[in-house]
């Protein structure tokens, strides 16, 4: 299909979609309306389980099974990216150059690194009480480590980042989540049921299994993002393509379709 034809087809489809969508919008419950049957029940259930953060309660308690699915997607995506970007035969590894970063930036980065790590861990740890949780905090922790790359250089990052350990941590997070589910199934009524003591409302140790699942997710997200960025950094900073340039299919000529 030509570009013009494709654009025409898209505009036609977009017109139909826009018209249908606009009509549907007029029939949706108005923005800010008062009818939220699911929300009300979820809040009720969250309060009954002494989880101050109802969103965390939905994620790690009421719909914990769903989150297992999300977590598995994340795991698979990281795995897929690692497999796609692994170093193939014929690709040379070059040493990264030491970066020349100004003293101010370097100082800021080194001062910010522990603060950012702390904030990330705080966001993970308080996931059941205040806004936050494993998903957000994990990303913050992983980003914090990469302050070393942007404020110092790649070699500094490599020193504190044995990738294989983070790969292990990624898998361990996923494993811990599943095993928590299996344990609750053995101990109580169902897979991922909240069987632990619920603790006191608004305390750090409240909400039962939410704390464990939250921590497992935090670990998996943090390690997964570190591994992900490591593969990208490897490709962009360290790995040169196979001799013959990028067009010759990585020294594997049988895969070139032309």
């Amino acid at each position: 299909m030509t570009r013009r034809g494709r654009l025409r087809l898209f505009l036609l489809a977009a017109l139909v979609l826009a018209a249908g969508y606009a009509v549907a919008c007029l029939d949706l419950p108005p923005f800010g309306g008062d009818r939220h049957p699911y929300g009300d029940r979820a809040v009720h259930a969250a309060l009954a389980r002494r989880t101050a953060n109802a969103v965390a309660s939905v994620n790690f308690d009421q719909r914990a099974m769903d989150t297992l699915g999300e977590e598995t997607i994340l795991f698979a995506a990281v795995l897929g990216a690692v497999v796609l970007l692994r170093r193939t035969a014929g690709e040379a590894r070059t040493e990264p150059e030491p970066a020349r970063v100004s003293a101010g930036v370097r100082r800021l980065g080194l001062a910010l690194l522990p603060v950012a790590l702390l904030v990330g861990l705080y966001v993970v740890a308080h996931g059941n009480v205040t806004p936050g949780g494993g998903f957000q905090g994990g990303v913050v922790v992983a980003t914090a480590l990469h302050l070393l790359y942007v404020a110092a250089d790649y070699r500094a990052l490599e020193r504190i980042r044995p990738v294989s350990r983070y790969e292990l941590g990624d898998a361990a997070g996923e494993f811990a989540y599943t095993m928590t589910g299996v344990c609750t199934a053995l101990a109580g009524p169902a897979f991922l049921a909240n069987v632990l003591p619920l603790g006191t409302f608004r305390a750090l140790a409240s909400a039962g299994t939410v704390v464990l699942l939250n921590a497992a997710v935090g670990m998996e997200v943090a390690c997964g993002v570190v591994v992900l960025l490591a593969t990208f950094l490897d490709q962009a900073v360290e790995i040169a393509d196979a001799p013959g340039g990028p067009r010759s299919a990585d020294g594997a000529p049988e895969e070139e379709p032309t």
Binding site: P131, Q136, V139, T143, H146, V225, F232, A240, R247
Partner: protein, 109 residues
């Protein structure tokens, strides 16, 4: 008052999304995507979703731009391998400088 904030944030998000699409160069698009993440985070705060806003801030401020920019660097200069290009002290100065120019033509024929 909240409604006004939500409306302004919505318009800002719509404008940022449009700008992100019409910026055709991925490296420049990354800036706009980062801005889009910021404005989305503000919108989420105003519709009382701080958890979601945290998520968006964490992902949008540094992670996504870093991945996009690294991909851009890899793709646009795929053959250079980055640092090796400018003959660092004792680091294979021969790799990646002339190599990516030579053999390609012959192979395509």
């Amino acid at each position: 008052m909240t409604d006004v904030l939500v409306a302004v944030a919505l318009l800002l998000v719509a404008a940022a999304a449009t700008a992100a699409v019409v910026n055709r160069d991925p490296a420049r698009q990354a800036f706009v995507l980062s801005f889009l993440g910021l404005s989305l985070a503000l919108l989420f705060t105003y519709v009382q979703a701080p958890d979601v806003a945290l998520s968006q801030l964490a992902v949008g401020s540094a992670l996504t731009p870093l991945m996009i920019l690294l991909t851009v660097r890899k793709v646009t200069r795929g053959s250079a391998g980055g640092p090796a290009r400018t003959a660092g002290p004792g680091r294979r100065p021969d790799r990646g400088t002339a190599r990516d120019r030579r053999p390609r033509r012959g192979e395509r024929r």
